[in-house]
């Protein structure tokens, strides 16, 4: 699905990511965990093409997208829910979603309709003509996920979907995310909160200071969480 | 290291009017007058990040103060300078206090609105300003019994005044206030957190800029001997802004270069007739796009880059 190798990226002269490499298989849910400032968001931005990597390659389905501009890269089947959601607050829910519909990938194997996303998040139907900025954080997160799904991705990247949300909402959202696998969507979940990540991810990578420092194999979450030394390196406890 | 340069510069400056024709001396006098007004605009733009289009107002106030004091009231010229400076400063304080709460575009447009209002009033209050007819027969400046009645003598006087203004601005920039200004320009919030009274500082510099404009206007009035609204239009405000932009806002030599540019280049281009406006507009565009730090700033950058590349350790040189 996605294969990243030797990726260096940053802002201006400041290199944040150093030689990052990992892969996501078809139908996998992979978590990327790390402390604040570890470079997770920078990695997400590089994957989307919002910043240009200075070295390395990003391969999507055997197709090199390293230099493909963001708006076109999204049509190769990648979709993303960025940190802080990045919705258009002045526009209505319906308008936010409509823009995804008209710019969506054509001819991919995934096919989400408006009815589908409304079934996942009934709130969308209820609030469809109110401006997004009037919605609560949790509702906005749902609209953001719906918008990403309407791009018809087979790989969904989510940057800190639990940020600032009440646990109840987080659970609800996680439930939906888990179900996406059945629709043929692979998932890269970027999380600061290992607990959440461990709940739904098959595998994981731990990031620190811009490097992948540890890989968590399938079924390895428990042993990672119980390894005092590991958690200490991460939580600093 | 700087001294030999300075001596060469002073010698060249002293000899220049003897070599050049009268016309060019005349332009150099204007360059001096514009340098003084431009220094103020440069202070605001280069060190505070404020675009002002109101300098023509204070330039006009200096000029009118000198004209009214010497012609209508028959008082000594030195009083005209003082009144011009005080009037400019006081008005700048009164207007700057509310207006300088704005930032960016909005501040620039607000200063433009001030300039438009002032221009309308200069026309309207013709009992004071003479309106279109203006005020003529402004006496030549006398200095210790020596009358500055030729471009040559005025050249020396105006540039000495300009040099004093440059020295004062240099001191200001090099001192505590300068540091605070540049800090404020780079990050308003951080400056506030460090107890820099951002608004007070902006108003202060606005006043300094206005006083420089006033001095410049007084010099202009005495040099040309005649003032009218035609000299204080919005074009003048734009011209004063272009001086630091073209030369390099944050550098004092940059302002001088800008003033020389603005007096000599249109003069050279005027041979092109109506075409010169196009060339001038394009020149401005090119400077803004390609040399964002002005002529002097860009040259400095090149020099610095060259220096960096020759001295820096590998890995630090490339930007």
């Amino acid at each position: 699905m996605l294969e990243i190798g030797g990726l260096d990226a940053g802002y201006g002269r400041l290199t944040v990511l150093h030689d990052v490499a990992f892969r996501i298989g078809d139908g996998e849910i992979v978590a990327l965990v790390g402390a604040n400032g570890a470079g997770k968001t920078t990695l997400v931005r590089a994957l989307c093409g919002l910043i240009a990597p200075t070295a390395g390659r990003i391969i999507k389905d055997a197709f090199d997208v390293t230099r493909v501009p963001t708006h076109e890269r999204m049509r190769t089947g990648i979709a993303v829910v960025l940190e802080n959601r990045r919705l258009w607050g002045e526009l209505t829910v319906r308008e936010n979603l409509r823009l995804a519909e008209v710019n969506a990938r054509q001819g991919g194997k995934v096919n989400f309709t408006l009815a589908d996303v409304t079934r996942l998040f009934p709130i969308i139907a209820e609030r469809q003509s109110s401006a997004v900025e009037l919605l609560s954080g949790g509702e906005q997160q749902m609209v953001a996920i719906a918008r990403a799904l309407l791009m018809q991705p087979d790989l969904l990247i989510m940057d800190e979907p639990s940020t600032g949300l009440a646990p109840k909402i987080v659970k609800e959202i996680l439930g939906v995310i888990r179900g996406l696998r059945d629709r043929g969507i692979s998932l890269l979940l970027v999380e600061q909160n290992v607990g959440i990540a461990s709940e739904i991810a098959d595998r994981g990578y731990v990031m620190a200071l811009g490097r992948i420092v540890h890989e968590i194999v399938p079924g390895g979450w428990q042993s990672f969480l119980s390894d005092e030394r590991m958690v200490k390196a991460y939580l600093g406890d | 290291m700087r001294r030999p340069w300075l001596i060469v510069l002073v010698v060249v400056w002293a000899l220049l009017p003897w070599v050049l024709g009268r016309h060019h001396v005349d332009l150099l006098v204007f360059a001096a007058i514009y340098t003084i007004a431009g220094l103020g605009v440069g202070l605001l733009l280069g060190h505070c990040g404020i675009v002002t289009l109101a300098q023509s107002v204070f330039y006009a106030m200096g000029a009118y103060a000198s004209a009214i004091i010497t012609v209508n009231l028959k008082l000594p010229a030195s009083l005209g300078f003082v009144v011009g400076m005080i009037a400019s400063g006081v008005i700048a304080l009164a207007l700057g206090w509310p207006v300088l709460r704005l930032t960016g575009f909005f501040l620039a447009v607000a200063t433009l609105a001030l300039a438009m209002i002032a221009n309308a009033l200069f026309f309207e209050w013709d009992w004071l300003t003479g309106g279109t007819v203006g005020i003529g027969a402004i006496p030549k400046l006398g200095l210790f019994g020596f009358v500055l009645d030729t471009p040559l003598t005025f050249y020396y006087f105006a540039w000495v005044v300009a040099a004093i203004a440059m020295l004062l601005v240099h001191n200001l920039v090099a001192g505590r206030t300068g540091l605070a200004m540049r800090g404020m320009r780079d990050s308003l919030d951080a400056a506030r957190v460090l107890a820099i009274d951002v608004h007070g500082l902006r108003v202060t510099i606005f006043v300094v800029c206005a006083v420089l404009g006033g001095v410049s206007g007084s010099l202009f009035a005495h040099y040309t001997g005649y003032v009218s609204v035609a000299s204080f239009t919005i074009d003048k405000a734009i011209l004063f802004l272009l001086i630091p932009v073209l030369g390099g806002a944050a550098s004092i030599p940059g302002v001088v270069v800008g003033a020389l540019f603005i007096t000599f280049v249109p003069e050279l281009l005027s041979k092109l007739g109506d075409f010169h406006g196009i060339v001038f507009g394009l020149a401005l565009i090119v400077v803004v796009i390609a040399a964002p730090h002005g002529i002097v700033g860009t040259i400095r950058q090149w020099r610095k880059r060259a220096l960096d590349e020759s001295t820096a350790t590998p890995g630090e040189a490339n930007k």
């Binding site: 402390a35 009037l134 646990p167 | 001191n171 001192g175 605070a180 320009r185 957190v193 460090l194 820099i196």
Partner: protein
């Protein structure tokens, strides 16, 4: 009994319809290190902006050493000793490290624009004092090698250090630190903790917002902010055992 360096009483704030803080109250006793933790988006930044005066709270009050700060501007608060740092360090990009620190020392001097222009003895004295202070700070923070480097060229860790050094140059009584350890590596965080400890030993009061549990250990009291409310407060060790904190913040 002296008044606390900072006494936060019932702060509430909303942006448009979105409530960010509801009835937040806590104290920062003089001479102590107090921590503030909470998940992203829990309102820490808003609270910080209210404390130092960037935002006016819609309800509640902030008392600083017993004085109401309602009428005090950011600058005024800084003048009486409250300095903060920013989540992303705000250094003066075009100024050298030394000049940055000198700007921090501006508040120790008074000379105005006029005396600067005329280069009066007073202005020269002020500049010399600022330079002296900056020199001492540079030495103390080990920034000698970077003295002439423009801040724009610093790494994020160096920027953090510079911001801290700059704040320190103004000899603040109360320092608010917003995520001072983010972007630092483990060794640097350790060093930072030691710095802060020494500052505290010298009598400086600190309010520390951080995700870094290691750094949080220097705080005598930690307040946990969750959805605009303080849900727990006490020593860090206690907080780590607190089930509610474990659930909402540590995610276990």
């Amino acid at each position: 009994m002296t008044a606390p360096a900072l006494d936060v009483r019932g702060i509430g704030h909303a942006f448009g319809g979105l409530t960010v803080l509801t009835n937040v109250s806590f104290e920062v006793p003089a001479g102590r290190i107090v921590g503030l933790i909470g998940p992203n988006g829990s309102g820490k930044s808003t609270l910080f902006n209210i404390l130092n005066g960037f935002l006016v709270p819609q309800s509640g009050s902030v008392m600083m050493a017993g004085n109401d700060t309602r009428a005090m501007s950011v600058e005024a608060r800084s003048r009486v000793g409250m300095v903060r740092t920013f989540q992303t360090p705000r250094v003066f990009e075009h100024l050298s490290v030394q000049d940055n620190i000198m700007v921090g020392a501006c508040k120790l001097t008074r000379s105005g624009a006029l005396s600067n222009m005329l280069s009066l003895p007073r202005a020269r004295r002020d500049l010399a004092l600022m330079r002296e202070v900056a020199e001492a700070v540079i030495e103390r923070f080990g920034l000698q090698r970077l003295r002439e480097v423009p801040a724009a060229k610093l790494t994020s860790g160096q920027r953090r250090m510079l911001e801290l050094a700059r704040a320190y140059a103004g000899k603040p009584q109360l320092l608010l630190l917003d995520e001072p350890s983010s972007g630092l590596n483990t060794a640097e965080v350790e060093a930072l903790g030691k710095w802060l400890q020494t500052f505290n030993d010298e009598g400086m009061t600190l309010l520390l917002v951080s995700h870094d549990m290691q750094l949080m250990n220097i705080a005598s009291v930690v307040n946990v902010l969750y959805f605009g409310e303080i849900i727990a407060s006490g020593p860090m060790a206690e907080m780590q055992r607190n089930p509610r904190v474990r659930e909402v913040y540590l995610g276990m």
